[in-house]
């Protein structure tokens, strides 16, 4: 086992015994299941209404009626849930002075940060994978386009990774886990609101730049089934940037 794998294994072990993980996991899965239920019931009612009015049978677009709203709602749920997973990563190490062990071990700060990020990403992708049950079950009863579902999941995965990197950064900034959680809400919400600011500014250059900085339009394209390089580049570069700043923060603690 390399030290990075060791660290990932240890983080996963700590997640498995932590109540926070179970609460976050349960809430996330409950919400996603409940949303799926609501959307499917809603789609059924719409189909019934359509049948009564037109007296014809129409093929329902499940992608539009069920999956797109689920993806958008889950993206918002992630803003509130993912900071709970990342808040302890560095704040706790500083508080319990275990950071001293990590920083005096033959392992670089970049390895520490990537191991912590990978561990929480694994947890998140595991939870996200469980929500795949909804499209899987629905595929037995109905037909829909698979491609937008896959890009939607890619969007949730990338967006989640970006949120988690914001959370990792927030956790390096403080010893207090609650402060870390709120700080990462703050960072993510700023990126969210930038989307609104961008659309107010409209078609100006500044508006375009600000809209690009927000994840809103990138996520929207992925959910609509559009797979474009610029959106993927946005998420990956944003994630790397946040982790890089976290690296600088951890390094700067050594000088204080």
């Amino acid at each position: 086992m390399t030290p990075v794998n060791t660290l990932i294994a240890k983080e996963l072990r700590c997640f498995v015994v932590s109540p926070v993980f179970y609460v976050v996991g349960a809430v996330f899965l409950f919400i996603s299941g409940f949303l799926a239920h609501l959307m499917v019931v809603n789609a059924g009612q719409q189909a019934l209404r359509f049948l009564q009015m037109q007296n014809t049978y129409a093929q329902l677009n499940l992608n539009e009626l069920v999956f797109r709203p689920i993806f958008h709602s889950l993206a918002i749920v992630l803003i509130f849930l993912l900071p709970m997973l990342t808040m302890r990563l560095f704040a706790e190490e500083r508080k319990l002075r275990t950071m001293e062990l990590l920083l005096t071990s033959p392992i670089g700060i970049n390895e520490i940060i990537s191991a912590k990020f990978m561990s929480v990403l694994i947890i998140y992708l595991g939870l996200l994978g469980l929500t795949g049950l909804t499209p899987f079950v629905l595929s037995f009863y109905s037909t829909f386009h698979v491609d937008p579902i896959l890009t939607g999941y890619l969007g949730l995965a990338l967006q989640g990774a970006f949120f988690l990197s914001c959370g990792v950064l927030a956790s390096t900034l403080t010893e207090n886990q609650i402060v870390a959680a709120f700080l990462s809400f703050g960072i993510i919400i700023v990126f969210w609101l930038l989307g609104g600011l961008g659309s107010i500014l409209g078609d100006t250059t500044l508006g375009a730049v600000i809209s690009y900085l927000s994840f809103v339009e990138h996520f929207d394209r992925l959910v609509r089934g559009l797979l474009e390089a610029k959106d993927i580049v946005y998420y990956l570069s944003g994630t790397v940037l946040m982790l890089f700043i976290a690296h600088r923060v951890v390094d700067s603690h050594r000088w204080q």
Binding site: T6, K10, R13, C14, L101, T104, S105, W255
Partner: protein
């Protein structure tokens, strides 16, 4: 093995340590002694690579701290002031984690774990969660963590703090057992501990090294006269005046009890026989006659107080030279 050259550490405007230089030979146990806040932890953190020095360099086993920090980290076992423990792991899980983190070859991990668990008496708690252990056990797990990868160099920051007297003796035995095969730096503010364990002590006060020597030499170096404690059964009137008539005696003062006198005479002489003869001739009932050596406590107080006086002298008149120059004390 460890060479610390002119390191200085500043936190903003605050000078934590200034121009600290010392060397530790292979297999030696060096005691790092000083009052709280003297800069012991800062110096140790710089040696372990936890934080960089503002100035100066550190070399461990020939590796420079700036060029090969990872090589140094592989060779050091470090027990910080508060042991870095993960509350939710069991003792074995934790030790396995640290062993792997320190790049101990996987085949050696189980063997080393069994060895340190045995060495530190952790067998009964090996499957317990660290968060539920008592302070003494946590401290031992912390020490086990520093030893797990069998490092040639150990840096122990107050290893016996918070332990009961029996545990202190056990931990001291473990540390003494490491001498020879391991190079150890340990910090403490308990002077008897330094005398008991260390081959050499470095005394640090307010960020400066004020003395460096073996405990025995430190106390003899600072002794200005020989002292002897004398206890008799029936001290007659003007007993101390009578004692001062013995040739060579400089001063006689009252000891802790009326029966006890402290006789001071010039360095290099041995008046014990003369004193014994005199007391027997007087027929006052000789009970005890023992030489007094300066304890490390006295040395320590003397050094740190000299330093204080020095500071006062310099504050009062910056141009006047203090009677005892710094060089004399640090390099004698």
């Amino acid at each position: 093995m460890i060479s610390v050259q002119h390191i200085t550490k500043r936190y903003g405007n605050h000078l934590a340590i200034e121009d600290v230089t010392f060397n530790v030979k292979r297999g030696e146990i060096l005691g790092f002694l000083g009052p709280n806040g003297a800069g012991k932890t800062t110096t140790m953190r710089i040696i372990t690579g936890f934080m960089p020095a503002s100035e100066g360099t550190v070399q461990v086993a020939g590796f420079d701290c700036f060029e090969h920090p990872q090589e140094i980290k592989k060779r050091i076992g470090y027990l910080p002031e508060s042991p870095p423990l993960y509350q939710e792991l069991t003792v074995t899980e934790y030790l396995r984690f640290v062993g792997q983190l320190k790049r101990l070859p996987p085949s050696r991990v189980p063997g080393r774990m069994a060895q340190v668990i045995e060495q530190l008496g952790l067998g009964s708690v090996r499957h317990r969660v660290i968060g539920h252990l008592s302070k003494g056990f946590r401290q031992r797990v912390g020490l086990a963590q520093a030893l797990i990868h069998d490092p040639p160099v150990l840096i122990l920051d107050e290893p016996t703090i918070g332990l009961d007297p029996i545990q202190i003796i056990e931990i001291r035995d473990v540390i003494r057992g490491l001498a020879g095969s391991h190079t150890v730096i340990l910090s403490t503010h308990i002077l008897s501990e330094a005398t008991a364990i260390c081959d050499r002590v470095v005394i640090i006060d307010r960020g400066h090294i004020v003395a460096e020597d073996t405990p025995a030499q430190l106390s003899s170096r600072l002794r200005q006269s020989e002292k002897i404690s004398l206890t008799v059964k029936h001290p007659p009137d003007n007993w101390r005046e009578r004692l001062s008539t013995i040739p060579g005696v400089l001063q006689v003062i009252q000891g802790p009890t009326p029966e006890t006198s402290i006789i001071e005479y010039e360095l290099g002489q041995d008046l014990r026989e003369d004193i014994a003869q005199f007391v027997v001739n007087q027929g006052v009932g000789l009970l005890e006659l023992k030489p007094l050596s300066l304890s490390l406590e006295d040395v320590f107080l003397q050094l740190t107080q000299q330093d204080e006086n020095l500071a006062h002298a310099q504050d009062a008149s910056p141009s006047s030279h203090p009677s005892l120059p710094v060089e004399n004390r640090t390099q004698a």
